[in-house]
Amino acid sequence: MDKREDQEAQRQPERFLPLPQAALNILLALLEEEAHGLGIRKAIEERTGGEVRMRAGTLYEALHRLDRDGLIAELEEPPSDQATSRWRYYRITAFGRQVLRAEMKRLDAIVAYAKSHDMAPESEGS
């Protein structure tokens, strides 16, 4: 654990940008609470109104890479209210939050640029 945190400290979040869609969605889902694979997928589905539904392979590929590179981490054991669950639970790491923040900054810049060129998203009803 310490070693990994060490590695994290050395990393520059910018190196992971732009975040692939799957990774971005997973990190966002984990902001709310710790979750397992299926739970993450459900959270993403709920947040996007069913628009994004990750297939099993894509989901686990992204989880594997995010975990390997220290953006998320596996819980040692399931949360207390899910003690009997057979699934592995994940949490977002400090480094993961850093990367997410960097990504938001990047996206912000894009949105700001688009807005300045009259590409603001239309507000509803207008």
């Binding site: 992971f16 975040l19 297939r55 099993a56 590929e61 594997h64 995010l66 390997r68 699934w87």
Partner: protein, 910 residues
């Protein structure tokens, strides 16, 4: 979840890197199972397929693109030890570490690197890769599904211990040179006594009887087998006892063995079933045992087996098959010599079974699949040809891509990559391609083999048992590897000795090496066209034969004819009078149904299988000789109007031709012509039948020829007798209804009800209309034609893609030459002809070779061709024209592009 899905999932998981598998493999599988479960819409094949494909794709990415955007690939890190690498943005570089020396790195590392490099190469050109994958998937998928059928039917051993030692003996009538498919009981016993090589030699047959359990009655197929046969199979019953010698005594108590399935379904798997009495064909049978799960004999149909008790012993009809087991100390060779020398003398046997008889032997498997064996091998060869054509296409695709990579190869070679290294690199690319294609092909095979089996089930024994099994999966894997080597070898050999100076200059268009390269591709296309031609002609022959068969004139209108085949229980209808009464009542009730025009009785219904054949003896012919063998149809007088037959000479049968009046018959034209060439058949007398059944009859009329039994059978002499005068086959007779046009299908339920209203214990069996019977008769030919036709069309398409590819490539390669020609004054038309001519030259060479191939192979189809020569000129000419026109089109497209070349552009494109 299907076994195959589970296997697919394990195979997919094997693609993932090991650290993924150990940490997350279980979870991924669990989620996949969740997603593929029916409640998740997993039954929708497309969505399941997408889920599996996504999982495979993710695994491949994890294995071969460890970089993703999150981290650099391993070898890129090696180049940049600080872990940051250059500024390639995390994308893998396109050139692998080709300088690594053998031995300097772990071999597996190297293979992994090669595969990763190959994989990146493939995904960099998705269009190209998809085209190659689709072609390979088609070839491997089709081949795998046909192989799995062949494997199940021909190669998989029968489910008995040492099944290859089970032998059937058949009677070969020396005089008349005929091999009989079955023997009579006396001949079976004679064989058993005369032969010495087999133990537990006995006889068996199959039957369909009405089984009564509680209130219900149902027609169920079963086996009749002597105790020796059950003994020879060496499969002990699961419960109770097997047949013993005492069970076969003529007056023994009737006993029965149940199949596992029947025991489970009808008797709730209860142990009490042993000793129970069951009514079969209105007779009591005692259940003495239950056979274990998976026991089948002789094929999958029978669900119970009864002993020979009560079976006629001296009957002169042959309906039994024989079976015995080779004695342990007898080798097949010794037995063969013994059987070949065996002779039986049958003084008075069944018709066609008398005289000196030799013995032919077959293994049980040969007996069961004998008829379809050659067909299946033909299918497999045809599909192999399609696969070969597909391979050539992909090899050509690889070659053309290789041509675009000459510079890369030369560069790598110049930098020190050895020939072996380049070869392995190329082969790993083609192998990866073939394996991916094979995986896609497996999915295709799953779909194809389901279709194939449902079509084949009707007539291919053992075909409906299994789907794709492990053998088929192994076959697909091995085939993919082989295909990978095959398609990669030529391009690899070519690429591994690049011409350094030419390659680096990359203007090798006119060089000798390039020309040689092009000649190789042209040669491949010729081979492709030749194979396609061979397949197309053979398929065309089957199509044409099927057309003829399907449009055969049977001599009467088959539409709106309903067939009613009641199964009269022998116990109740033993008396012919009872049967006659049943038919009389039923027919009078059927006649008045609205929509029924007329009803007739017939001993054998048209195309329903089965017919009666008896000998004809003219006056003055000695008793032991016959003048002709005739089909005998026993009918009621209404039969002729129902079929729409009117007399050519004399009169038809009438209700006045009944018992007590002289026995009269109506004959068909063929009989009249053959036996009475002078033309006056009416009024002639002859003896019909032999032994106790022989009877003197007089011809009162002649009707036109009809085909009543098999479409492929030539018309034989036919005798129509009145059911009122010949009652011998009454119990087995059926009824034929002429319905008002279009009313048939609506009438069928009413017909069944009417039958039940006369006697509720009589079920109706078989198909319901003559057209359905006819279609059933054609199903085998239709299946064969469809399958080979599909192979032929696929071959044609693939070959044309091949021609197109090589022509298009040729035009690109010679674009400068074309530019020069045009600059020097060549007109567009001239360029067009120049290119097309070259395309047609290749095609013509292929056509000529293919014609030879067709002439050499089409005789294999001869037995499936109906009134068609295997050298039918029309078919050959049609196939040649089709292929030629298709090739013209395939060459025209590149030619048009060439003719529209702008000379200036072409000259400039250096």
């Amino acid at each position: 979840m299907g076994r195959l899905t589970r296997l697919c999932m394990s195979l997919i998981l094997a693609v993932y890197p090991s650290d993924f598998r150990s940490r997350r493999g279980d979870e991924l599988l669990r989620l996949l199972r969740y997603d593929l479960a029916p409640s998740q819409g997993g039954l929708q094949p497309l969505s399941s397929l997408a889920t599996l494909a996504d999982a495979l794709w993710a695994g491949l990415r994890l294995r071969f693109l460890p970089g993703w955007t999150l981290r650099r690939p391993a070898h890129s890190q090696a180049l940049a030890p600080d872990g940051r690498g250059g500024d390639s943005g995390g994308r893998p570089p396109s050139v692998p570490p080709f300088t690594s020396q053998p031995g300097s790195a772990n071999m597996f590392d190297q293979i992994r690197q090669d595969l990763a490099y190959a994989f990146r190469n493939l995904i960099r050109r998705p269009g190209w890769t998809l085209a190659a994958l689709a072609t390979l998937a088609l070839g491997i998928g089709a081949t795998t599904s046909v192989f799995s059928l062949v494997n199940d039917v021909l190669l998989r051993p029968l489910p008995y211990p040492q099944a290859e030692r089970l032998v059937e003996l058949r009677a070969y009538i020396i005089e008349g040179n005929r091999l009989r498919g079955s023997v009579s009981y006396p001949v079976c016993r004679m064989m058993g006594e005369a032969q010495e090589a087999l133990e537990d030699f006995g006889c068996y047959t199959t039957t369909t009887q009405t089984l009564k359990i509680d209130q219900g009655a149902e027609r169920i197929r079963g086996g009749i087998a002597s105790w020796e046969v059950m003994e020879a199979l060496r499969v002990p019953p699961l419960k109770g006892r097997a047949f013993g010698p005492e069970d076969d005594e003529p007056d023994a108590q009737r006993v029965m063995l149940l199949s596992f399935g029947l025991w489970q379904e009808r008797f709730g798997a209860s142990d009490d079933v042993i000793g129970q009495t069951i009514r079969l064909a209105e007779r009591p049978f005692t259940v003495i045992g239950v056979m274990p799960e998976g026991f089948v004999f002789p094929d999958e149909g029978p669900r119970y087996w009864i002993s020979l008790a009560g079976l006629p012993r001296t009957d002169h009809t042959h309906y039994l098959s024989t079976l015995g087991r080779l004695k342990p100390d007898w080798t097949p060779q010794r037995a063969e010599a013994h059987f070949d020398a065996l002779r039986l003398d049958v003084p008075t046997g069944a018709p066609g079974e008398t005289g000196e008889i030799a013995v032919r032997h077959f293994t049980l498997l040969e007996t069961l699949v004998g008829e379809v064996r050659p067909q299946l091998w033909i299918f497999l060869s045809a599909v192999a040809a399609v696969l070969l054509i597909a391979c050539i296409n992909v090899a050509n695709l690889l070659l053309s891509r290789m041509a675009g990579r000459t510079r890369e190869m030369a560069l790598r070679s110049a930098l020190g990559a050895g020939r072996r290294r380049l070869l392995i690199q190329m082969l790993s690319e083609s192998t990866l391609l073939a394996l991916l294609g094979g995986a896609a092909g497996l999915v295709l095979a799953l779909v194809l083999s389901t279709t194939l089996r449902s079509m084949a089930a009707a007539y291919v024994p053992r075909s409906h048992l299994l789907g794709l099994d492990n053998t088929a999966l192994l076959f697909a894997a091995a085939l993919s590897l082989l295909v990978g080597m095959l398609i990669g070898l030529l391009p690899a050999l070519r690429a591994s000795r690049p011409d350094l100076s030419d390659g680096l200059r990359e203007s090798a268009r006119g060089s000798a090496g390039s020309r040689r390269h092009h000649r190789l591709r042209a040669g491949l296309v010729v081979a492709q066209v030749a194979l396609a031609m061979t397949l197309l002609i053979n398929a065309g022959l089957l199509v044409r034969s099927f057309q003829r068969l399907a449009s055969t004139d049977v001599g009467f209108k088959t539409a709106d004819l309903i067939t009613v085949q009641p199964a009269l229980p022998m116990a109740r209808y033993r008396e012919e009078a009872a049967a006659l009464e049943f038919f009389r009542q039923t027919m009078s009730r059927l006649e008045v149904l609205p929509g029924v025009e007329s009803v007739a009785l017939a001993a054998t219904l048209p195309f329903a299988g089965g017919h009666i054949g008896e000998g004809i003896r003219l006056e003055g012919t000695p008793a032991e000789e016959e003048d002709a063998l005739a089909d005998v149809q026993v009918v009621s007088p209404e039969f002729f109007p129902v079929l729409g037959l009117s007399p050519l000479q004399g009169r038809l049968l009438t209700p006045r031709d009944r018992e007590g009046t002289p026995v009269v018959v109506v004959v068909n034209e063929t009989l009249a012509r053959q036996l009475f060439p002078q033309g006056q058949a009416v009024g002639q007398r002859f003896t019909l039948g032999s032994y106790e059944r022989s009877r003197q009859v007089e011809i009162v009329g002649v009707v036109p020829d009809t085909k009543l039994y098999r479409l492929t059978r030539e018309i034989r002499p036919m005798v129509y007798e009145s059911a009122l005068q010949n009652r011998m086959s009454l119990q087995y007779s059926g009824m034929l209804l002429r319905a008002a046009p279009g009313a048939a299908s609506a009438l069928i339920p009413q017909v069944r009800e009417t039958l039940q209203s006369v006697d509720a214990s009589v079920p109706m069996i078989g198909r319901a209309t003559v057209d359905e019977h006819l279609s059933g008769r054609l199903s085998n030919a239709r299946f064969r034609t469809l399958l080979l036709g599909a192979f032929g069309i696929t071959a044609l398409l693939l070959a044309m893609i091949g021609v197109y590819g090589v022509m298009a490539y040729g035009v690109t390669r010679r674009i400068q030459e074309i530019g020069v020609r045009m600059a020097l004054g060549a007109r567009r038309g001239q360029i067009l002809t120049w290119v097309i001519r070259r395309g047609l030259l290749l095609t013509s060479l292929g056509l000529a070779l293919g014609l030879g191939g067709a002439l050499a192979t089409s005789h294999l189809l001869e037995s499936y061709l109906h009134q068609l020569s295997s050298h039918d000129q029309f078919t050959y000419a049609a196939a040649v024209s089709v292929l030629f026109l298709a090739a013209l089109l395939a060459a025209f497209l590149p030619a048009r592009r060439a003719s529209r070349t702008d000379p200036m552009e072409a000259l400039r494109c250096e």
